[in-house]
Amino acid sequence: MSDQTDPSTEQIPESRFDRGRLRREIHLEIRRLHRLSNRGLWGLALFILISLGAQQNLRFLPPLSEGARAVLGAAPPVKLISIALVVYSFSALILILSRMMGGSDTYRGWSHLGYLSGFYAFYYYAEVLPENFWAVFAAGITILTLEYYQIWTYCSEALRTEQELLSKLEE
């Protein structure tokens, strides 16, 4: 039995190795949580940037040619777009609140950014964007702020847990 070694001398370096690996994993997780938390801010900033363009009635875009309009067809009625905006805002808020309740770590701000830009595009195509800009802007700010709040509270709680774990490892 020459390969038998004293267990006490073998355990110490292994536990040191585990601690180092754990510490690295915790640091990686902390970095991931910081990145996740910042996503909400990036989403909000991007939406404000898009809204700045929409507020100028998308003047930086070339006007739609008659040919393009003929291909796309008539714009949907403005009332229908507005009703769709109300329904979308209501369901988005309900979904965010339910995710908040379930403690989910998913950020859905990017898809909301797409939907909201779609509403800007529809109003622009119907030539009523200046009249309806503030409705889309208010909906977007509410939805994306709530998304940010949801991901931020999740990340804050997770970060606190990770930091407690890290401080226990440091002891």
Binding site: S82, V86, L93, L97, A138, T142, I143, S156
Partner: protein, 291 residues
């Protein structure tokens, strides 16, 4: 932000207020459009009444009566301008005398809708006939241009002659002050802002009041009870409030009573062992020192 109140109030207040703001903006937009449409419809009807009222004077080529009608309408409160011009754009009658015999720019707002193509349009919907602008007196004006169509009586009249092929003989242009409409919209806007603020206050206040009554106060009482129980005071009953808090309180009370009982038992055992030690000590000392 670790408190229950902040965690509960912020998302609810944000979601409710944001949604109410979106609905209010869209509602304001709908109401504004409805009010504008009804104003335009009223103005189109008014233009029709004026054209019908002047029909007889036109057929008779009674320019004096026509001038009087136009002047009287122009003197009415809220009428910013009223004029009739012929098919070439020459102002024939106007409430403002300096406009008479002036040519109207066909590219101006209110004219361009018909004159955007080489062959001018002769039929427009009420929305296309209307225009909203600020005049030289800095008044908001909602104006309508109503075409005066050729009729058999016009082309066959003895007094003056219009060819039967000419479809539009002239245009009546009437502009009414849009200040009352604008004032109504501003009032409506402020009422909606007040409504939003009230909803926000009610939501935040309601959630805070309910949280304080149902969660925060029972938790504070539970903390005070737990501290008292830790110090050994188990005389006071566990706090009530909501079922979950009552359950925790009862569990704490049970734990505190068991702890108290165990401590009493431990104390009793200790005193017994001390007594036992005291009884055995003299005998041990007597065996150690026999003489």
């Amino acid at each position: 932000m670790k408190s229950i109140a902040a965690k509960a109030v912020v998302p609810v207040a944000l979601a409710v207020t944001g949604f109410v703001v979106v609905c209010c903006i869209l509602l304001y937009s709908f109401i504004k459009n409805d009010l504008l449409n009804s104003s335009i419809q009223r103005e189109v009807n008014l233009a029709g009444i004026i054209v019908k009222s002047t029909r007889h004077a036109m057929l008779q080529a009674d320019r004096e009566s026509l001038r009087n009608i136009i002047d009287n309408i122009g003197e009415q409160n809220g009428v910013e301008h009223v004029r009739i011009f012929n098919e070439t754009g020459l102002v024939m009658f106007s409430a403002a005398p300096e406009e008479v015999s002036q040519l109207v720019d066909k590219k101006a707002a209110g004219c361009i809708a018909c004159h955007s193509t080489d062959i001018p349009a002769t039929n427009l919907g009420p929305m296309e006939q209307s225009r909203w602008f600020t005049n030289q007196k800095n008044h908001n004006v909602l104006a309508i241009t109503a075409p005066i169509y050729n009729e058999p009586g016009c082309s066959t009249a003895d007094c003056h002659f219009h060819p039967p092929t000419l479809k539009v003989l002239g245009t009546l242009d009437i502009g009414l002050s849009a200040e009352p409409l604008r004032d109504s919209l501003v009032t409506l806007g402020w009422r909606m802002v007040v409504f939003c603020i009230m909803v926000l206050i009610l939501t935040v206040g309601g959630v805070c009041a309910l949280l304080r009554r149902n969660i925060l106060l029972p938790i504070t009482n539970l903390v005070a009870y737990a501290n008292a129980a830790t110090r050994g005071n188990t005389d006071q009953p566990p706090p009530g409030g909501i079922d979950e808090i009552e359950l925790i309180g009862q569990s704490l009370h049970g734990l505190a009573l068991r702890l108290e009982k165990k401590q009493a038992e431990l104390e009793m055992l200790r005193s017994k062992s001390r007594e036992g030690a005291a009884v055995h000590k003299p005998s041990i000392s007597s065996t150690e020192n026999p003489g």
